[in-house]
């Protein structure tokens, strides 16, 4: 049986832990709202971009001189897995889920005899991937210095990826991030980004007479890197919202658990206090009777 003083110390320590988790939960809730608004604000651009891509890709994809970013290098030996994680912890299984999805794809690809490389965004998840694939980390992108990843970061990442691609470092790139469904549900998602899969739903019939300035190929050559940026940017935003959502849920659970623990400890504390008083009384009474 723990002494009264020990119990009191434990209650105090759990109470301060609860304060921290509660604060983190409220911060996450506030940030989540902002992250969600950001993600929504970026949607119109992404949608229109996808529309334009769809209508253009349909026209050019069949041709021989189609850009490599669209048609691929002709082989699919080296796969690059771009894994987007967060920089901070305290968000439940958020990072673990993304890493798990990436690793399972990596294992599948390795089983098929392909080479797997990693490109990591964010600080978390590096250790796990490094342990599993010590030599496969091609590059890392540091987001610790910016408060929230924005378009500038997406731009840099996309440029690096395009450069690596043009240098022939990989043939296919997959992007792993967490899709934001709700504050309670985030889905680890895999998406192929290079070569760019043609978006669906481009209605080619009504745009048959579109004039292109300059011609289709040149527009497409400019559009593809931008499309890549948009996709990465979208993924970063979804990730930011998911992180806050996951963090909020995890911290809510932690706060509740701490509450339960405090209750249990308090009951135990009161019982031992009572027991101590009873023993003291018995001693006094026994002493008085002995006289």
């Amino acid at each position: 049986m723990a002494s009264l003083k020990e119990l009191k110390g434990r209650i105090n320590s759990v109470t301060s832990t609860q304060k921290i988790t509660k604060a983190k939960q409220m911060v996450a809730a506030a940030k989540l709202r902002k992250a969600q608004a950001n993600a929504e604000a970026a949607r119109p651009y992404a949608e229109r971009m996808a529309n334009v891509m769809a209508s253009l890709a349909g026209k050019v994809s069949g041709k021989e001189n189609a850009p490599k970013l669209l048609s691929g290098t002709g082989s699919d030996q080296v796969h690059l897995l771009v894994v987007a994680n967060s920089d901070k912890g305290l968000c439940g299984a958020f990072n673990a889920n993304i890493v798990k999805a990436a690793l399972s794809t990596a294992r599948e690809l390795t089983a098929q005899g392909k080479t797997v490389q990693f490109y990591l965004i964010g600080r978390k998840g590096r250790a796990v991937i490094r342990r599993n694939y010590p030599k496969a980390i091609m590059a890392q992108f540091d987001t610790t210095e910016v408060r929230e990843p924005g378009y500038a970061e997406a731009e840099k990442i996309a440029e690096e990826l395009v450069k690596l691609y043009e240098d022939g470092k990989f043939d296919v790139a997959h992007l792993f991030y967490s899709k934001f469904r709700s504050a309670l549900l985030q889905e680890p998602t895999e998406q192929q980004i290079i070569p760019a899969p043609a978006p669906e739903g481009g209605d080619t019939a009504s745009q048959a007479a579109v004039e292109y300035e300059p011609d289709e190929e040149e527009i497409l050559a400019e559009l593809l890197p931008r499309y890549l940026k948009t996709q990465i940017f979208g993924a970063l935003l979804e990730n930011a919202a998911s992180e806050q959502g996951a963090s909020m849920t995890a911290m809510d659970n932690a706060t509740r658990n701490a509450g339960e623990l405090i209750q249990k400890l308090t009951i135990q504390y009161n019982r031992s206090r009572q027991a101590a008083i009873t023993t003291e009384l018995i001693e006094i009474i026994a002493g008085a009777e002995a006289l």
């Binding site: 651009y45 334009v52 579109v210 300035e213 300059p214 527009i219 940026k229 940017f233």
Partner: protein, 85 residues
């Protein structure tokens, strides 16, 4: 008689409005878009979009960097990389 005009950047929908005419800084020269313009898809250079709210009005200039302009049935959509204030 109005042209539906939308200006979108990656971070947000900057403007959606019905205007009279917009002059777009296309990479092969500026072009004005009125209502009923034939479908065009063009890259744009860094420059100013001139938005004419009504006929003969003084144009409002929006400086943009890089991107695309698309004219379709639904009007003019400008996908700009960045809007400079």
């Amino acid at each position: 008689m109005a042209l539906h005009f939308e200006l979108v950047t990656p971070t947000k929908l900057v403007r959606t409005d019905d205007v009279y005419m917009v002059v777009v800084p296309g990479s092969e020269g500026e072009f004005g878009v009125l209502e009923g313009h034939a479908p065009v898809m063009s890259t744009i250079t860094d420059g100013a979009l001139k938005v004419y709210k009504t006929e003969g009005a003084t144009p409002e200039e929006i400086r943009i960097q890089g991107g695309f302009a698309e004219v379709g049935d639904s009007g003019l959509t400008v996908l700009a990389e960045q809007v400079v204030d």
